[in-house]
């Protein structure tokens, strides 16, 4: 059945990694609004061009939460450049796919990450 989530999605959803907000973050990104019903906040700590800490807080559906968790796991330890290269497909593949009709909201978490990186880079200048 199309609507069934992969094991991986359920795992990320029920045991999300990197939950929280980094108080002294180097960059913060947030997407969504209460009206939309999805808000993803990602904060990062960067050292030597490398994301060495990352946390998220998410208000949203199963996909919003599981992609947030997955994105933080994937970004952690990556160079800024590598992190910017991450694509929607990378995220979806790491989750062993998403049910049809749900693959659209997978992009939000990645968007939040990239906003956080942009925020960090802006602060660098």
């Amino acid at each position: 059945m199309d609507k069934v989530y992969s094991k991986k999605v359920i795992e990320e959803f029920s045991n999300p990694g990197n939950v929280g907000i980094i108080e002294d973050a180097d960059g913060v990104g947030e997407v969504g609004s209460t009206v939309d019903g999805d808000i993803i906040n990602i904060s990062i700590k960067v050292k030597d061009d490398t994301i060495n800490d990352i946390k998220f807080k998410t208000f949203g559906c199963v996909v919003a939460i599981s992609t947030s968790s997955m994105v933080t796991r994937m970004a952690k330890g990556k160079k800024i450049d590598e992190a910017l290269d991450l694509t929607d497909e990378d995220v979806i593949n790491s989750l062993d796919g998403l049910p049809e009709g749900k693959d659209n909201c997978s992009g939000f978490a990645l968007e939040a990450l990239k906003l956080a990186i942009a925020d960090y880079m802006k602060k660098q200048k």
């Binding site: 208000f59 559906c61 939460i65």
Partner: protein, 380 residues
């Protein structure tokens, strides 16, 4: 605890159906004995359904479910070959009614959608004021499937009668939960569905008051007095009949039991949790419906966590294609933004127990806490 979606078939109902799969499998319109047994079963079931709503057997048309009953009532009562007839309905009807009305609009008919108050009750004055010379039909549900609000059908019937307009009600959610009598309600047509009352899926009925003129929407061998062709689903119809009979016998006991559980759950949640509100009406409410909205948490995520604890509920905000689709009904109630995405419908069944309610409450509380702990909105 998602009994408004569907219910398990009562073993007594399955038992009543089984012989009609094999020994008495005949076609009810046949002359021969196999067919006669099937035909007699049909007569019995028709009487059981009629008795359950205070109607006469010949006023019952068997259909494939609540959706088809609603369609037949609405499409079947529109005069054929005449465009631009007018229908009045409410904004919180089931899609089986709403989408049928939208189809009518696409065919040139006119439809007025009546708004509801924050408790979900339709505006009687607006119904009255939107009546036109060419209004054919008012269709308002007996009680809402999402928020459980019971509509003032008797008052609407008064208006319909005074203006000589047909009245249809979708009673899919009220059979077995409230007393349903077509004369007390004053309706000309009434839809019901078997799988909501511990009967089998794929069968329902439409009550059509004697003398009410409707035309078929499915054509064929002229079953059901020509109004609904297709070989009768004998086991299904037998199951519906049995389910109606049981629902009638058990109504008093079951509805008291469900109401007790409902009130206990509502009291517990409202009394001990923050950022929560009850959707729907405080008193004009189905005895088995609890619809809550939790601030700063999202419906599907709650659903999933509860599902992992083997608790089935539903939400009015399902995420699809990346944007939250909030149900028409919740939208019509004008909830605040922070509440609208966190709705949860718990619809109780007769087989639920008060112990299950206690356990549900505990799981629900920790679910909400857990999601709030990862929500960026908490504490803002």
């Amino acid at each position: 605890m998602d009994h408004s979606a569907t219910t398990p078939v009562d073993p007594l109902v399955v038992g009543a159906m089984l012989p009609y799969f094999s020994d008495m499998f005949g076609n009810s319109s046949s002359l021969h004995s196999f067919g006669r047994e099937a035909g007699e079963a049909l007569v019995k079931a028709r009487k059981e359904v009629a008795d359950g709503i205070g109607a006469m057997p010949e006023e019952i048309i068997f259909t494939s479910g609540g959706t088809e009953s609603d369609n037949l009532a609405i499409l079947g009562s529109m005069p054929q070959n005449t465009d631009k007839k007018h229908v009045i309905t409410s904004v919180i009807e089931h899609p089986a009614v709403l989408n049928t009305c939208k189809f009518l609009q696409s065919q040139g008919h006119e439809v007025t959608y009546i708004s509801v108050d924050p408790g979900g009750v339709v505006d009687l004055e607006k119904i009255e004021s939107s009546i036109q010379d060419n209004t054919m039909l008012i269709t308002v549900m007996h009680a809402n499937n999402e928020v459980g609000t019971i509509q003032p059908i008797m008052d609407i019937a008064q208006i319909a009668k005074e203006n000589d307009i047909l009245l249809h009600t979708d009673a899919v959610q009220t059979i077995g939960k409230l007393p349903v009598n077509v004369d007390t309600l004053g309706v000309d047509m009434l839809s019901l569905s078997s799988h909501k009352i511990h009967g089998p899926k794929g069968v329902g009925a439409l009550y059509v008051r004697k003398g009410t003129n409707i035309h078929p929407t499915v054509f064929g061998g002229n079953h059901e007095g020509g109004l609904r062709s297709g070989t009768e689903n004998i086991p299904g119809i037998v199951g519906l009949g049995k389910a109606m009979a049981l629902a009638g016998e058990r109504l008093d006991k079951d509805s008291k039991h469900m109401q007790h559980m409902r009130d206990s759950l509502i009291d517990k949640v409202l009394g001990s949790m923050d950022g929560v509100r009850l959707n729907g009406h405080a008193t004009q409410r189905l005895p088995n419906n609890v619809n809550l909205s939790f601030k700063n948490v999202e419906g599907e995520s709650m659903l999933m966590l509860l599902d992992m604890e083997e608790i089935a509920v539903s939400t009015g905000s399902a995420c699809s294609s990346g944007s939250q689709n909030v149900s028409t009904v919740l939208k019509a109630l004008n909830l605040e933004d922070e509440y609208i995405h966190g709705s949860l419908r718990i619809s109780l069944g007769r087989e639920n127990t008060i112990e299950e309610i206690d356990s549900l409450f505990n799981i629900l509380r920790s679910t909400v806490e857990r999601l709030r702990s990862i929500s960026p909105l908490e504490g803002r």
